[in-house]
Symmetry: D2
């Protein structure tokens, strides 16, 4: 296993709701602490991604809890998307009061991360975008987003800020839609502690190759975090890793190995109708198979195939590494 190790988000331990089943498809009898305890029972998992402040506000009691469970807090996501307040955006919101709240909340999250000993927060400005043509002033939204990222990142320069992009959902168009758009914004924000979070499924939705996205981000030294999952490319289905796009997922791990990615491999699945722990175990099993295969890649052999643009050869090599 390369990178810092395996991490999971708490997402699969909550009831999975959608617009039709507001109460969620799964029962949720566990407290936050119990969820953490359940995560700690999953072999190989050493890190956990947290949502702030929905899950906790005060880092002090959580810090000892996590230590007792031997879990590292790998990332804290600021909740900038989960209430009607943010319906027209958080970081880019044209309402100055709302936007100021988003920035203040993100700064407080950095402080909580500091208190918890978590080296990174993440921003997912999922409500920042538009639904209809002509709805927003693009130049203004772009500038506001960049300024907000700058201001937040400057608040605690030793805490990393991972910016997660996504093409759409919940907006029909999200402003930070692709890896390159995010890299442009990060360059403008001008803070060394800002990088990009590549969610595999988000990258697939954006019609990117996640492997190439990782390589490009690393070219700028800005690949801070990855989320693992899968989907059918039209929507953020947050499915079991490798359950749809085996080859692209394998290639993604190969890219992470090649660029020397040293962050966490963090699972972000959202099993609406499947049980939490089995979905995670199935995902981790796939991660293990694919990272093992990635580590078996003879890079000189693959480089020679790539030098010749030999798609047949590369395809056969991947098959040899992965299939029975």
């Amino acid at each position: 296993m390369f990178g810092k190790g395996l991490s999971v988000a708490t997402v699969p331990f909550y009831p999975a709701a959608d617009r039709f089943v507001g109460a969620g498809y799964r029962k949720d009898p566990y407290t936050f602490e119990q969820k953490l305890e359940r995560i700690a029972t999953i072999g190989d998992v050493r890190g956990v991604e947290l949502s702030w402040p929905a899950e906790f506000e005060d880092p002090v009691p959580l810090k000892s809890k996590l230590r007792s469970l031997s879990l590292t807090p790998t990332n804290m996501e600021v909740e900038l998307f989960g209430s009607a307040k943010w319906k027209y955006g958080a970081l880019s919101c044209s309402d100055d009061t709302i936007r100021a709240q988003a920035i203040a909340l993100s700064k407080r999250c950095m402080e909580a991360a500091e208190g918890l000993g978590c080296e990174q927060i993440s921003l997912w400005p999922g409500q920042d975008g538009w639904d209809y043509p002509l709805q927003i002033d693009y130049a203004d939204a772009w500038a506001r987003t960049i300024d907000a990222i700058h201001e937040i990142a400057a608040h605690r320069p030793h805490i990393k800020v991972a910016v997660e992009y996504k093409l759409k959902e919940p907006r029909t168009h999200i402003l930070l839609a692709t890896v390159c758009k995010t890299l442009l914004a990060i360059a403008r924000a001008g803070q060394e502690n800002v990088g990009v979070m590549i969610d595999f499924g988000h990258s697939m939705m954006a019609l990117e190759s996640p492997a190439e996205a990782a390589v490009l981000a690393q070219t700028y030294g800005r690949l801070f975090h990855v989320h693992l999952n899968d989907n059918y490319r039209g929507w953020d289905d947050d499915m079991i890793v490798g359950s749809v796009h085996l080859w692209e997922t394998f290639e993604f791990f190969h890219a992470l190995r090649t660029i020397g990615y040293d962050g966490w491999l963090s699972l972000d699945v959202f099993p609406y109708r499947e049980e939490s722990i089995p979905s995670i175990r199935a995902s981790l099993d796939m991660v293990k198979r694919l990272t093992d295969a990635a580590e078996r890649v003879d890079r000189a052999r693959l480089a020679a195939l790539q030098k010749n643009n030999d798609a047949v050869g590369a395809t056969e090599y991947a098959r040899e590494l992965l299939l029975r």
Copy 2:
């Protein structure tokens, strides 16, 4: 205006929730009766689509309420998708008990429709499908769906049953995905009182031409109901009518006129961030513009263009009818 007139679903009067904002983006201070009263204030609207049994169970008091508001109940949708119980499907569910409940509920809905004086119920088997390859037995699910439709329709042959199809959401794959799949199922179900409901946006998601879908359904005499809205084709965004696909929406109305559609024109928008009544008014304004233009079509002129496959001519004619 052709068809029976304008109808609206109550959908836009509920809080619009999604998986991120479970409480919904809009406040919902109104009772069901107040929602109906608000609908009755919208000029031109003469019909209302109802959800059963979520909104009401007993048709008797509602009947007089609707009469007092001069609203016709145009359709009653059976709730076969809104609770965790249906998570693996309703009409096709491999669990016989669940499936029997779905059928029984649908039959009771027909009885309530009879009591209300509503001539049609609708089935949207939105949870009937699959998420992963190999998850279900397709032949079995297909047979169960058809048998269920047959059994329900036979319960009250004088009440129409409109089957609504959709490509995906909430499942990554819904069984009844396209107009032609639904027409095949209807033919097999073998009941004269079963037809298809074309939701404009669902048809667009399925990469159909909604106009062609309407024409094909009418070829079989099975076009029972239409839902009006719009989206970006990748998801069921349920947007304001004509706000994205002006030409296809116009063509849809032209097709409805051409085939002599005599059902309701029913609005099914889901404005997450927009106000209910303004969204409806904007949609109705567009419906009015486009149906007016459709009625101005010189059919002989268009037929001559079509005979020659003259895309430039047809495009220019549409422009002449619609644009300033």
Copy 3:
């Protein structure tokens, strides 16, 4: 290997042209006979799909050539799409003269098939459709297509007619777009010798599950032929089998086995930049791996998982069968 065995189309042996590189990406120094000889050298391949009349007109000399190479002619595709004459369609063309030519050509193809001892022809009405809203009269195009299929099939009732569907390309919308639309048309055409050809990639483009498409076609006893290849779902990339959608391809073979498919497994790849024979070998290697795995499926075990809608279990089972 189930079905009648492996077949290949001659497509990969021609220069692969597109709109930018009209001369094609590959050199083509071989005569038609030499192409057949090259195909005969590929182990496991026992059948060949032919294009008529582009490749040959007179079946007599070809018959002995194929016999000498131990190749069975598995299908003859009528050329209804490859010249400007068909630009507004063949079977559905609103120009009666063009349409009559298409029907006559198809009938002559049946006669040639009879002469060759080929039990099936195929129709791919790829130019039959529309590009712009309002361009054609859908009802008329639908009726003309069905009547043409009827008339052609009636010409030689003992020769099978496989109708191939596709969502788009070269038209932005092709009339026979999905498996269910084609099954509806076939039912209307009313001839027992008409069935559907499922091209795996076309099915993926249409956002179908090819496995489900096969099962549905078989429900009607109308699955006559399959084409194997792969793509990214947005276009007919005609790539190496299993190179993108491993799981869906596996599930497709599982479905073919389950329904007792007894036709040919025919390869239809179009390697623009790859060499012909290596692309075919890579595809056949994948077909072999996946059909072998499909034959290893314990159907009772999978049925039990499916009965429970157990996506995690089904996913893991597939992984166990296929991955190292």
Copy 4:
């Protein structure tokens, strides 16, 4: 009309071929000079985009020809995609010899532009990309592309170099896929005379908002050229302007006006089955309607709507400006 005026590419005057109809759907009885003469007859068109060296090599005779027709050469596209030589890319090709040819050809094109008095060339590296996972070394392809752009641009710093991006076709994945990826590459290339060409249809394929793409490019002062056309977002259909996406096309013109775009409005349609001049006239008619409407936009009124994220209001305003 804003910008420098209307320009057309010669594309619609060639036979429109695809992989099925290699000879093209249209007859092409005209010489290059005759094509120019036909273009000059189209009212309002003042500029022409040229393809080099396919259409001409020596600029001297062409210069006087264009002058006599009162046509300005608005752009010269280097042919880096139209022969098998470039099948594995031009600017990024891993074969140093091929790549050197691409760079040399581009430099010679700058010299020809200089001779012609054309202020801009364009690079469309449409063959630079990959088809299969693992086929290429992304970091290497990225670096090679940037270095090539740098080297070319440095050859004649007073000639502008417009880089055109596209998601796919002819490769399943093109390296320069989106506006932001191209802006990143341009920033790295480090030459002031390099900018981006936004092809409306390419931007739609990339799931961008072309209006936002234009605004972002202008933020960097790098919007050099625009191509006008339309498509269904899944493929580069190169259709008549505004024939599918009326609102997005209108918004694009509004954005060009707002940012003070001062380049050409250049038509790039590829009418496979429609006649050249009528397709162009239909497109120009739409451009005129939409640019006129864009000029009627009361920017203060729209800004107030956008400040409130008022989608209903913005939608209604657009309707008021455009519809009858």
